[in-house]
Amino acid sequence: MILRHFLIFFVLTLCIAAEARSQVEISAPGRQLLPLAVTRILPLAGTARPELVNDFDATLRADLDLAGLFFPIPIAAYPDDAGQIGLTSTQIDFLSWQKLGAKALIKGGYTESGGELVVEARLYDPSGRRLLNGRRYRGKVADIRRMAHAFADQVLLSLTGTEGPFNSRIACVSSRSGRKELYLLDVDGQGLERLTEHGAIILNPDFSPQGKEIIFTSYRYGKPDLFRKEIYTGREIAVSARPGINISARYRPDGGEIALTLSHEGNSEIYLVGTDGSMRRRLTDNWGIDVDPTWSPGGDRLAFVSDRLGNPHLFTLDLASGAVGQLTVAGKYNATPAWSPLGDRIAFTRLEEKKFEIYTIRPDGSDERRLTDGPGSKEHPRWSSDGRFLVFSSNQDGESALYLMRADGSGLRRVTPPGLAASQPAWSGRW
């Protein structure tokens, strides 16, 4: 259903963007996918580097496949123009692409010299014979995949009106070193970097919406305290080390404040603190356990987990009025809510037959849908910044690993390599 919404939006956007000049359209809404041709980028000067082209092509195709909006035209059917270097509208043989039924065409070129890499990538509307989006990326050879991610984001921007989330980072917890430490990787599982060496237990990261900062819980000082780390400088401070627990922290979407669970007043309640940890106010007041807050996109509401009615269930809190409403009624154990950046749905997990499955529900408690099935437990769903995708951790392949899927549960794929033992992901905004 979500996909259908995308597609409708997609069609509308295309029609608007293309105005009267464009021939690009989808004949009917629904499950019809846009025929897309993705040609291999060609050497503009210097020597050919087929291995770089392979990386760019594979990365771009994987991203666009995950988007779920396109039908990839078989490469064998491509016309001779796929091998022509011409990158301007006047040089491209649009007619041959039109005959093939291509509604969108990607062409590109690159120049590599002494490790320096320039990639030119273009998105065309063959029917309208015009450039929809053109990008030039300059960097190192090692940046090739991230350039492909960035262009995939641009393709989605041009064709749907919303930029993709592929040029971003996923943070996760891994026990690979023997202790749970924080790691950073790309959305395709490449570019793994270790962020912490606490030698303790680290849990539950969350990216700052602004800047490349991350908050997380660490037992570095023997108990669960909240830390904040600047990813590039490595600077790190404990922002809340109050007595008891300092856990499940989430930046407000504007980045100005943090909601988290504290127990320094005796019971685990949700509080609002500044990004420096300074107390703003207490948000819940109940005998039960209140944890795992997640912000609505506007920052005016929270969803959270509470056992105030006996079992862990999801509740919503209106920050202005303090009104609390029950969100989930089904199931006996609902946990880890994540409010979509689009605002329309809240993802969460439910314990069923000794394993967790991922669900989404509307913020008013209606239209609950189960997204996952099959072996293993699926936990910790987190949204991409555009609300199109979810990342989560699962032991379905026998070890803990991260997986991606679309917001409707389709397109499942594993992200992390074998042996990483990854869990508790967080997905950054545009990097």
Binding site: I201, L203, I245, S268, V305, P312
Partner: protein, 194 residues
């Protein structure tokens, strides 16, 4: 320290001599033997005035007890360590922090030890099994630790001796994934603070 999930059920009667207390368990007979003489000395002592030769065993027994009671500081420390090692973990039902009868019995024995060692500080660790959300389990583990702390205080243990920390599901006792492992892992542990 020898561990048993049934520890709490097998606590032997505590023997008090001066400030010395010992709590042992059925799985630890060797450790108990030196601390808990089986025969009560009082009747034998009463018989002494009439005939001298008989009470020899009683005399021997007193020799065993005396060094402990008048122990040098180093020995007292060692003795405290032995007693703290007898602090026994308690277990909980799934998603619960209510103390079972067994847990309360265990805590009563732990309280006796702690009251006898008023200068010793102990950290109570709350733990959960792997089911459930990590964050919820940290809060639940804290409640388990607090429930144990509150009960110990209600039994007369000085609250200043006690602190709590929750590890949620992060430090399982048994790394397995079945009911038996889960039952083992839902627990509160008592760790002396050095």
């Amino acid at each position: 320290m020898i561990i048993s999930r049934k520890l709490g059920q097998f606590l032997l009667p505590l023997l008090a001599t001066g400030a010395i207390l010992a709590a042992g368990c059925a799985k630890d007979p060797a450790g108990d033997a030196s601390m808990a003489p089986p025969a009560a000395p009082t009747p034998a002592v009463a018989a002494v005035p009439e005939t001298a030769p008989v009470p020899a065993p009683v005399f021997q027994e007193e020799k065993v007890m005396e060094p402990a009671a008048t122990a040098a500081p180093a020995t007292a420390l060692q003795s405290a360590e032995t007693q703290l090692a007898a602090l026994t973990r308690i277990h909980f039902d799934y998603d619960q922090y209510v103390l079972s009868t067994t847990a309360r019995d265990t805590l009563a024995a732990n309280a006796t030890i702690l009251k006898a060692l008023p200068t010793v500080k102990v950290k109570i660790e709350g733990h959960c099994d792997e089911r459930g959300s990590d964050q919820y389990n940290i809060a639940l583990g804290e409640r388990r630790a607090q429930a144990a702390l509150n009960y110990l205080v209600s039994l007369g243990v000085n609250a200043g001796q006690l602190s709590t920390v929750s590890f949620g599901e992060e430090m399982p006792l048994d790394p397995g994934h079945g009911e038996a492992a889960w039952a083992q892992n839902r627990r509160a542990e008592f760790k002396p603070v050095k």
